[in-house]
């Protein structure tokens, strides 16, 4: 084959790639009635795994996609659990951090770590708490080093060290959690805590408070506190390392979504404007991640739209993914899977059924209709027959939930489930 032929063949192949590459997002409703800060990870086989907690604080659930739909399995002994964060270790073991509140009347949370592999049951260890009544624990985030050491950041108010951001990691030498206050963040109330660890075990922590967005990087045994970034009144932010290990944050300021990268101590932060946004009223609505090829991606809420922004060679481009509930935020959590495809979970809203939903969206994600109960890709009388089989059955439970007909996981198949079913009538995938 001569050179011209090869070039021609390459052109044809790339044209086919342009034609057939599907870069659109697939959005699936995972469950109804579930919300609040779900997160997502992919296992060694690149299968998405969602961790969520039920709205009534009954516990933490691990949700996986099977041929029969999304299947939720409760994590034992997580009653009162919330704010779960999930990662997979290099050995494909589940690594989970969550808050636990057994006394619903106060804020006396405990911070717990749990892990599970295919070869052992869930095991748990307490990181912090139960705290004395005068302080509380909030908003943890977790990441693993390349050798599977869990590192956790969380906000703690009160206590002898005062309010602020704390960092904990498990020390295999002593068999204990080592905790420290990140004093460079100062005191006060922080939100939007993020932790990210690069392959060389460099750690980035970011958070925001009334003074703006703050970030710190741990390297060579020391925390380096980076200059604060002025942020808007809502102080929403998200932080992550770029693929070349530069700290980066996304945040809102004066109706603009900003992406900033800290180049070095001389140049400092370099900012770019991603998009104009209608200032959201919730502080939980930005998620930043980077692909392995260093493409930054941001999921954010603009008014009632969940938007995806990414920056390739041509600059920032934005795509609308879904409509979300106004005023409460979507609490998106964004990752890139092993094929560098974006994958996210967020709180959705079904206006027709007037219910919160837990949604998953991703490029290349297999489509799934929650009301397609017999998996024939269309919602029709065959599915209604399945629903009728379990009508007013009040013994539904995880993981099957009456063959998924108990859409809102209320324990019974009732009018709310019928309303949800009707919402999808005659829809096909």
């Amino acid at each position: 084959m001569n050179r011209i032929s090869r070039v021609y063949l390459l052109c044809v192949l790339s044209f086919c790639g342009v034609c057939f590459a599907d870069d659109s997002f697939t959005v699936n409703v995972v469950s109804y009635g579930t919300s609040n800060s779900a997160t997502i990870a992919v296992d060694i086989n690149n299968s998405p795994v969602i961790v969520s907690h039920t709205a009534d604080y009954e516990g933490i659930s691990i949700i996986t996609q099977t041929q029969a739909g999304y299947e939720a399995n409760g994590v034992p002994d997580t009653n009162g659990g919330s704010w779960p964060r999930l990662k997979f270790t290099s050995n494909n073991e589940l690594s989970l951090v969550y808050l636990k509140n057994l006394n619903y009347d106060d804020m006396s949370y405990e911070l717990w770590y749990g892990s599970k592999g295919s070869w052992f049951d869930w095991t748990f260890s307490g990181i912090e708490g139960p705290p004395p009544p005068y302080f509380t624990l909030l908003r943890p985030d977790m990441d693993l080093t390349s050798n599977d050491i869990p590192h956790v950041v969380y906000y703690r108010s009160g206590g002898s060290q005062g309010s602020g951001i704390f960092h904990a990691f498990f020390d295999v030498h002593s068999g204990q959690w080592i905790k420290e206050k990140l004093i460079g963040f100062g005191s006060g109330t922080f939100s939007n805590l993020s932790i990210d660890i690069d392959p060389d075990s460099k750690i980035m922590v970011s958070a925001s408070n009334t003074q703006g967005v703050k970030a710190a990087v741990y390297s060579d045994g020391f925390w380096n506190y980076l200059p604060s970034l002025e942020a808007g009144s809502n102080k929403i932010s998200s932080g992550s390392f770029t693929a070349d290990s530069l700290p980066a944050v996304a945040f809102e300021r004066s109706g603009q979504l900003i992406y900033a990268v800290y180049i070095n101590d001389i140049i400092g932060w370099v900012e770019t404007v991603v998009a104009s946004v209608v200032t959201p009223s919730s502080p939980y609505s930005i998620a930043l991640a980077h692909s392995s090829t260093n493409v930054p991606a941001i999921v954010y809420v603009d008014n009632r739209s969940l938007m995806y922004a990414t920056n390739v060679a041509s600059g920032w481009t934005t795509t609308m993914i879904d409509e979300v509930v106004s005023g409460e935020g979507a609490k998106p959590y964004l990752i890139f899977d092993h094929n560098d495809k974006p994958l996210m979970v967020y709180d959705g809203y079904d206006e027709y059924a007037d219910m919160h939903t837990l949604n998953i969206a991703g490029i290349g994600l297999e489509g799934f209709n929650i009301a397609d109960l017999n998996n024939d890709k269309i919602v029709n009388f065959s599915d209604f027959a399945v629903l009728a089989e379990y009508w007013i059955d009040d013994t539904c439970c995880a993981p099957n939930w009456c063959k998924r007909t108990d859409f809102d996981h209320s324990g019974s198949v009732d009018m709310l489930d019928l309303a949800t079913f009707a919402r999808y009538w005659l829809e096909s995938i």
């Binding site: 050995n91 892990s115 295919s118 070869w119 095991t123 748990f124 599977d148 020390d171 030498h173 002593s174």
Partner: protein, 372 residues
């Protein structure tokens, strides 16, 4: 200013020199999660999973056989070994495996625990190692046989090749053979035949045939237990007990000869148990139990490639139980053992600190600088 720099350079060089360093040992008891039955200790072996970070201890207990450390808790398996003698190994991909002397292997890898049989018949003490492609291999000898077998796993089956004894010789000793792989991915076997150390290699440099060392040049090492590790630059260290001392034999490529030396003098009788392992820096360590100051004591000796440091005495230990040794991702030693009260523990050295005498030199130097 020059003196300041000189002093700092001196301090740094001393800090970096393991020859002057001491260790701070942590002890972590291997106990099961709350509500589980207690672990009954037995002979131990150790491996480090997940980039040499998380210890996994194998032990010959009556109902379970291995426990893996997770954050805050040790998790035992329900697998239990039929044999009583264990050896452990760590693969480059983070898998940990243990082999007993009854033909059983248990491994903890990315898909969880797995167990199997490398040979169904009764064995003497076996030796397990992984090659550079994380393929497990077990060197063993069946009771009544007069040869060694190297079994390597391929798929779900184990395939063996044999090393025969020297024709007309005194025969290969029981429990006196060890296996390790070199940087060329060749299998290397040390064993004693009569009182003589023998060494065999098989791989790409030997045409995939077993090549045995000459008997004429081999050192006399007795007939007792041996263990062996190859450093990361393929220098073999064979540890053996000749009933009076714990000794080592290493091959000197410059002189093409074996060199032997005494590592520790044994007093108060035998047996001792020992385990040798190599780190990623060219060093080799040995953990063993011997009598010191009238008590059976867990000890650790380290050779950084240029010589052995004085053995460190850690804590009292059960001399009847086998110990395990592995190095973590920072090349710090981790030892599994049973203490004198019957508790199974790991000893961990997370850092090297200068000895008091060296610290005194630092202090003096600092004071002199401040005076100027």
């Amino acid at each position: 200013m020059k003196k300041h720099i000189l002093y700092i350079a001196l301090v740094l060089s001393i800090f970096c020199s393991s020859a002057f360093a001491g260790r701070t040992w942590f002890y972590n008891e291997i106990t099961p999660p709350q509500g589980n039955p207690p672990i009954v200790p037995g002979n131990t072996a150790i491996g480090m999973r997940s980039d040499n970070t998380w210890p996994v201890v194998g032990y010959a207990g009556p109902t379970d056989g291995a426990a893996a450390m997770l954050p805050g808790v040790w998790v035992p398996t329900t697998f239990n070994f039929t044999g009583q003698y264990l050896d452990g190994a760590t693969a480059p991909d983070g898998t940990v495996a243990f082999a007993d002397n009854a033909g059983q292997v248990v491994m903890l890898g990315k898909t969880g625990w797995g167990s199997g049989s490398y040979n169904g018949s009764a064995q003497y003490r076996s030796s397990i190692a992984f090659n550079n492609n994380s393929v497990p291999a077990v060197l063993h000898r069946a009771t009544g046989s007069n040869y060694l077998t190297l079994s390597m796993k391929s798929g779900s089956a184990w395939y063996g090749s044999t090393i025969q004894e020297y024709p007309g010789g005194p025969g290969i000793n029981t429990d006196a053979f060890a296996l390790d792989f070199d940087s060329y991915n060749q299998a290397n076997v040390a064993f004693s035949e009569g009182p003589t150390l023998r060494f065999a290699s098989k791989g790409i440099l030997t045409g995939n045939q077993w090549i045995l060392s000459s008997q004429q040049d081999a050192p006399l090492i007795g007939t007792g237990q041996i263990d062996m590790a190859l450093t990361n630059n393929d220098v073999p260290y064979v540890l053996y007990n000749d009933n009076s001392s714990l000794k080592y034999a290493t091959y000197d490529r410059h002189t093409d000869s074996w060199i032997t030396g005494i590592l520790d003098t044994l007093t108060g009788g035998l047996p001792i148990n020992f385990c040798v392992a190599a780190d990623d820096t060219g060093g080799v360590g040995i953990a063993y139990v011997t009598q010191f100051a009238g008590q059976y004591t867990l000890s650790f000796a380290y050779n950084n490639g240029s010589g052995w440091m004085l053995p460190e005495r850690l804590t009292t230990a059960d001399t009847t139980r086998m110990v395990g040794l592995a190095f973590d991702y920072e090349n710090n030693p981790v030892i599994s053992f049973v203490d004198y009260t019957g508790k199974m523990e790991i000893a961990y050295d997370p850092m090297m600190i200068p000895e008091p005498a060296t610290m005194a030199i630092f202090a003096l130097g600092f004071a002199l600088i401040r005076r100027r």
